[in-house]
Protein backbone atom coordinates (compact mmCIF):
# COMPACT_ATOMS: atom_id res chain seq x y z
CA UNK A 1 0.00 0.00 0.00
CA UNK A 2 1.22 3.50 -0.82
CA UNK A 3 -0.34 6.86 -1.51
CA UNK A 4 0.76 9.94 -3.38
CA UNK A 5 -0.54 13.44 -4.01
CA UNK A 6 -0.09 15.85 -6.90
CA UNK A 7 -1.71 19.16 -7.65
CA UNK A 8 -2.82 20.10 -11.16
CA UNK A 9 -5.31 22.72 -12.30
CA UNK A 10 -6.74 23.54 -8.89
CA UNK A 11 -7.19 19.82 -8.16
CA UNK A 12 -5.53 17.56 -5.61
CA UNK A 13 -4.84 14.29 -7.40
CA UNK A 14 -4.82 11.55 -4.72
CA UNK A 15 -3.53 8.14 -5.80
CA UNK A 16 -3.55 5.06 -3.61
CA UNK A 17 -2.39 1.54 -4.40
CA UNK A 18 -3.19 -1.88 -3.02
CA UNK A 19 -6.00 -3.01 -0.74
CA UNK A 20 -7.93 -0.19 0.92
CA UNK A 21 -9.46 -1.77 4.01
CA UNK A 22 -9.74 -0.91 7.72
CA UNK A 23 -5.98 -1.21 8.23
CA UNK A 24 -5.13 1.28 5.50
CA UNK A 25 -8.14 3.61 5.82
CA UNK A 26 -7.07 5.59 8.94
CA UNK A 27 -3.54 6.16 7.55
CA UNK A 28 -4.89 7.30 4.22
CA UNK A 29 -7.48 9.54 5.87
CA UNK A 30 -4.79 11.33 7.90
CA UNK A 31 -2.58 11.80 4.85
CA UNK A 32 -5.49 13.11 2.77
CA UNK A 33 -6.57 15.53 5.46
CA UNK A 34 -3.02 16.88 5.82
CA UNK A 35 -2.83 17.36 2.06
CA UNK A 36 -6.25 19.04 1.82
CA UNK A 37 -5.42 21.34 4.72
CA UNK A 38 -2.10 22.35 3.17
CA UNK A 39 -3.39 22.86 -0.37
CA UNK A 40 -5.33 25.73 -1.81
CA UNK A 41 -6.65 23.54 -4.63
CA UNK A 42 -10.42 23.39 -4.66
CA UNK A 43 -11.14 19.99 -6.22
CA UNK A 44 -10.17 16.42 -5.39
CA UNK A 45 -9.63 13.51 -7.77
CA UNK A 46 -9.14 10.00 -6.42
CA UNK A 47 -6.93 7.94 -8.71
CA UNK A 48 -7.94 4.31 -8.09
CA UNK A 49 -6.02 2.80 -11.01
CA UNK A 50 -3.70 0.90 -8.63
CA UNK A 51 -6.43 -0.11 -6.17
CA UNK A 52 -6.90 -3.87 -6.13
CA UNK A 53 -9.52 -4.01 -3.39
CA UNK A 54 -11.77 -1.63 -1.49
CA UNK A 55 -14.45 -2.18 1.13
CA UNK A 56 -16.69 0.12 3.19
CA UNK A 57 -13.73 1.26 5.34
CA UNK A 58 -12.03 2.71 2.26
CA UNK A 59 -15.29 4.16 0.96
CA UNK A 60 -15.85 5.84 4.31
CA UNK A 61 -12.64 7.80 3.77
CA UNK A 62 -13.80 8.85 0.30
CA UNK A 63 -17.19 9.97 1.61
CA UNK A 64 -15.68 11.95 4.48
CA UNK A 65 -13.31 13.80 2.12
CA UNK A 66 -16.19 14.35 -0.32
CA UNK A 67 -18.10 16.21 2.40
CA UNK A 68 -15.09 18.40 3.19
CA UNK A 69 -14.32 19.28 -0.41
CA UNK A 70 -17.94 20.00 -1.33
CA UNK A 71 -18.32 22.22 1.74
CA UNK A 72 -15.41 24.29 0.34
CA UNK A 73 -17.16 24.55 -3.00
CA UNK A 74 -15.05 21.92 -4.79
CA UNK A 75 -15.76 18.87 -6.93
CA UNK A 76 -14.79 15.23 -6.34
CA UNK A 77 -14.07 12.64 -9.01
CA UNK A 78 -12.93 9.01 -8.95
CA UNK A 79 -10.91 7.75 -11.90
CA UNK A 80 -9.22 4.50 -12.89
CA UNK A 81 -11.30 2.03 -10.88
CA UNK A 82 -11.17 -1.52 -12.19
CA UNK A 83 -14.38 -3.44 -12.78
CA UNK A 84 -14.60 -4.99 -9.31
CA UNK A 85 -13.89 -1.72 -7.54
CA UNK A 86 -16.30 0.12 -9.84
CA UNK A 87 -19.04 -2.33 -8.89
CA UNK A 88 -18.54 -1.49 -5.20
CA UNK A 89 -18.62 2.23 -6.00
CA UNK A 90 -21.89 1.75 -7.90
CA UNK A 91 -23.47 -0.21 -5.05
CA UNK A 92 -22.42 2.43 -2.54
CA UNK A 93 -24.48 5.08 -4.33
CA UNK A 94 -21.45 7.34 -4.82
CA UNK A 95 -22.33 7.90 -8.48
CA UNK A 96 -25.15 10.16 -7.30
CA UNK A 97 -22.64 12.31 -5.42
CA UNK A 98 -19.55 12.40 -7.59
CA UNK A 99 -18.30 11.73 -11.07
CA UNK A 100 -16.94 8.19 -11.42
CA UNK A 101 -15.06 7.21 -14.54
CA UNK A 102 -16.37 3.85 -15.81
CA UNK A 103 -13.87 1.01 -16.21
CA UNK A 104 -12.44 0.37 -19.66
CA UNK A 105 -14.73 -1.85 -21.65
CA UNK A 106 -11.94 -4.15 -22.75
CA UNK A 107 -10.68 -5.03 -19.28
CA UNK A 108 -11.67 -8.60 -18.50
CA UNK A 109 -13.67 -8.71 -15.34
CA UNK A 110 -16.23 -11.44 -15.36
CA UNK A 111 -14.99 -14.22 -17.55
CA UNK A 112 -11.57 -15.33 -16.49
CA UNK A 113 -11.12 -18.14 -14.02
CA UNK A 114 -9.10 -18.34 -10.84
Amino acid sequence: MSFSFQIHNNTVWAAISGEVDMRVAPLWRSALDRELAASLARNLTFDFSEVSFVDSSGLGVVLGRYKKVVSRGGRVRIVGANRQVYKILELSGFAKLMEIEPPEQNVAGGVEKC
Partner: protein, 170 residues
Protein backbone atom coordinates in the same frame (compact mmCIF):
# COMPACT_ATOMS: atom_id res chain seq x y z
CA UNK B 1 -16.75 -22.54 19.64
CA UNK B 2 -19.93 -20.61 19.05
CA UNK B 3 -22.73 -19.22 21.13
CA UNK B 4 -25.06 -19.53 18.20
CA UNK B 5 -26.30 -21.99 15.64
CA UNK B 6 -26.84 -20.59 12.17
CA UNK B 7 -29.95 -21.50 10.25
CA UNK B 8 -28.85 -21.76 6.67
CA UNK B 9 -31.75 -21.92 4.25
CA UNK B 10 -31.34 -24.40 1.43
CA UNK B 11 -28.38 -26.14 3.02
CA UNK B 12 -29.64 -29.50 1.84
CA UNK B 13 -28.84 -28.41 -1.72
CA UNK B 14 -25.18 -27.63 -0.95
CA UNK B 15 -24.16 -31.25 -1.59
CA UNK B 16 -21.30 -33.00 0.15
CA UNK B 17 -18.79 -31.04 2.22
CA UNK B 18 -15.46 -31.21 0.41
CA UNK B 19 -13.15 -29.04 2.46
CA UNK B 20 -13.09 -27.22 5.77
CA UNK B 21 -10.71 -24.75 7.37
CA UNK B 22 -10.88 -22.68 10.52
CA UNK B 23 -8.66 -19.82 11.63
CA UNK B 24 -8.60 -17.89 14.89
CA UNK B 25 -6.92 -14.53 14.90
CA UNK B 26 -6.56 -11.47 17.11
CA UNK B 27 -9.00 -8.60 16.63
CA UNK B 28 -6.47 -6.45 14.82
CA UNK B 29 -6.96 -4.42 11.63
CA UNK B 30 -4.19 -6.19 9.73
CA UNK B 31 -5.88 -9.55 10.17
CA UNK B 32 -8.78 -8.54 7.94
CA UNK B 33 -6.46 -9.04 4.95
CA UNK B 34 -5.42 -12.41 6.41
CA UNK B 35 -9.06 -13.50 6.51
CA UNK B 36 -9.60 -12.45 2.88
CA UNK B 37 -6.43 -14.28 1.86
CA UNK B 38 -7.48 -17.54 3.51
CA UNK B 39 -10.85 -17.53 1.78
CA UNK B 40 -9.28 -16.59 -1.57
CA UNK B 41 -6.60 -19.30 -1.27
CA UNK B 42 -9.16 -22.01 -0.53
CA UNK B 43 -11.33 -20.93 -3.45
CA UNK B 44 -8.36 -20.80 -5.83
CA UNK B 45 -7.13 -24.23 -4.68
CA UNK B 46 -10.49 -25.86 -5.67
CA UNK B 47 -11.45 -28.96 -3.69
CA UNK B 48 -12.52 -30.59 -6.97
CA UNK B 49 -11.49 -29.95 -10.57
CA UNK B 50 -14.93 -28.68 -11.55
CA UNK B 51 -15.42 -26.59 -8.40
CA UNK B 52 -15.07 -23.19 -9.90
CA UNK B 53 -15.69 -19.61 -8.90
CA UNK B 54 -14.75 -16.79 -11.30
CA UNK B 55 -12.35 -14.00 -10.37
CA UNK B 56 -15.24 -11.52 -10.41
CA UNK B 57 -17.21 -13.62 -7.92
CA UNK B 58 -14.11 -14.17 -5.79
CA UNK B 59 -13.71 -10.39 -5.53
CA UNK B 60 -17.30 -10.05 -4.35
CA UNK B 61 -16.81 -12.76 -1.74
CA UNK B 62 -13.66 -10.98 -0.53
CA UNK B 63 -15.64 -7.79 0.04
CA UNK B 64 -18.31 -9.66 2.02
CA UNK B 65 -15.67 -11.43 4.15
CA UNK B 66 -13.85 -8.15 4.71
CA UNK B 67 -17.04 -6.49 5.94
CA UNK B 68 -17.96 -9.34 8.28
CA UNK B 69 -14.46 -9.52 9.78
CA UNK B 70 -14.16 -5.72 10.04
CA UNK B 71 -17.45 -5.67 11.95
CA UNK B 72 -16.19 -8.32 14.37
CA UNK B 73 -12.92 -6.44 14.93
CA UNK B 74 -14.37 -2.92 15.17
CA UNK B 75 -17.84 -3.41 16.62
CA UNK B 76 -17.57 -6.78 18.34
CA UNK B 77 -14.25 -6.21 20.05
CA UNK B 78 -13.44 -2.48 19.66
CA UNK B 79 -10.08 -3.63 18.22
CA UNK B 80 -9.04 -5.28 21.49
CA UNK B 81 -6.08 -7.41 20.28
CA UNK B 82 -6.47 -9.89 23.14
CA UNK B 83 -9.84 -11.03 21.73
CA UNK B 84 -10.19 -13.65 19.02
CA UNK B 85 -12.23 -13.76 15.84
CA UNK B 86 -13.03 -17.19 14.38
CA UNK B 87 -13.25 -17.60 10.63
CA UNK B 88 -14.47 -20.87 9.20
CA UNK B 89 -14.74 -21.80 5.55
CA UNK B 90 -16.62 -24.80 4.20
CA UNK B 91 -16.57 -25.77 0.59
CA UNK B 92 -19.44 -27.94 -0.53
CA UNK B 93 -20.08 -29.42 -3.96
CA UNK B 94 -22.44 -26.60 -4.85
CA UNK B 95 -21.79 -23.86 -2.31
CA UNK B 96 -19.28 -21.93 -0.26
CA UNK B 97 -20.11 -21.17 3.38
CA UNK B 98 -18.01 -18.62 5.28
CA UNK B 99 -18.72 -17.97 8.96
CA UNK B 100 -17.28 -15.17 11.06
CA UNK B 101 -17.79 -15.41 14.81
CA UNK B 102 -16.87 -13.21 17.72
CA UNK B 103 -17.73 -13.29 21.40
CA UNK B 104 -17.90 -9.53 21.70
CA UNK B 105 -20.59 -6.97 22.46
CA UNK B 106 -23.21 -8.39 20.11
CA UNK B 107 -26.00 -6.62 18.25
CA UNK B 108 -29.22 -5.67 20.05
CA UNK B 109 -31.30 -4.95 16.95
CA UNK B 110 -30.15 -7.00 13.97
CA UNK B 111 -32.81 -5.64 11.59
CA UNK B 112 -31.68 -2.09 12.34
CA UNK B 113 -28.02 -3.04 11.93
CA UNK B 114 -28.80 -4.40 8.47
CA UNK B 115 -30.31 -1.16 7.22
CA UNK B 116 -27.87 0.84 5.10
CA UNK B 117 -26.89 3.81 7.21
CA UNK B 118 -25.09 6.86 5.98
CA UNK B 119 -25.41 8.77 9.22
CA UNK B 120 -23.45 7.02 11.97
CA UNK B 121 -20.28 9.02 11.80
CA UNK B 122 -18.84 10.15 8.51
CA UNK B 123 -16.03 7.59 8.51
CA UNK B 124 -17.99 4.40 8.92
CA UNK B 125 -20.41 3.96 6.12
CA UNK B 126 -22.85 1.52 7.61
CA UNK B 127 -22.76 -0.28 4.29
CA UNK B 128 -21.13 -3.46 5.52
CA UNK B 129 -24.27 -5.56 5.76
CA UNK B 130 -25.59 -4.09 2.50
CA UNK B 131 -22.44 -5.29 0.72
CA UNK B 132 -22.71 -8.72 2.37
CA UNK B 133 -26.31 -9.00 1.18
CA UNK B 134 -25.53 -7.79 -2.31
CA UNK B 135 -22.57 -10.07 -2.88
CA UNK B 136 -23.73 -13.27 -1.24
CA UNK B 137 -26.71 -15.54 -1.92
CA UNK B 138 -27.52 -15.77 1.75
CA UNK B 139 -26.64 -13.75 4.83
CA UNK B 140 -27.59 -15.08 8.26
CA UNK B 141 -26.82 -13.11 11.43
CA UNK B 142 -27.13 -14.52 14.95
CA UNK B 143 -26.37 -12.19 17.81
CA UNK B 144 -27.32 -11.10 21.29
CA UNK B 145 -25.98 -8.28 23.48
CA UNK B 146 -22.96 -9.47 25.42
CA UNK B 147 -22.88 -12.85 23.71
CA UNK B 148 -21.21 -12.08 20.44
CA UNK B 149 -22.17 -12.44 16.81
CA UNK B 150 -22.13 -15.19 14.20
CA UNK B 151 -22.36 -14.08 10.58
CA UNK B 152 -22.89 -16.77 7.94
CA UNK B 153 -22.26 -15.98 4.29
CA UNK B 154 -23.31 -18.36 1.51
CA UNK B 155 -22.39 -18.17 -2.14
CA UNK B 156 -23.83 -20.80 -4.46
CA UNK B 157 -21.65 -22.09 -7.25
CA UNK B 158 -22.75 -21.46 -10.80
CA UNK B 159 -23.98 -24.74 -12.23
CA UNK B 160 -23.07 -25.66 -15.79
CA UNK B 161 -26.33 -25.74 -17.73
CA UNK B 162 -25.46 -28.86 -19.66
CA UNK B 163 -24.56 -30.90 -16.60
CA UNK B 164 -26.98 -33.62 -15.66
CA UNK B 165 -28.65 -33.07 -12.29
CA UNK B 166 -26.69 -34.79 -9.57
CA UNK B 167 -28.20 -37.03 -6.96
CA UNK B 168 -28.41 -35.16 -3.69
CA UNK B 169 -25.75 -36.29 -1.24
CA UNK B 170 -26.81 -37.08 2.26
Amino acid sequence: MLNFQAEIAGKAAFGAELNFAELKFAARAENVALARSLVAALIAARPEANWDITVAVLEEIKVAVSEAVSNAVIHGYAEDPTRLVTLSVRQYQFALLVQVADEGVGIADIAKAREPDFTTGQEHLGLGFAFMESFMDELDIRSAPGRGTLVSLVRLLPQPEEAAPRAEQL
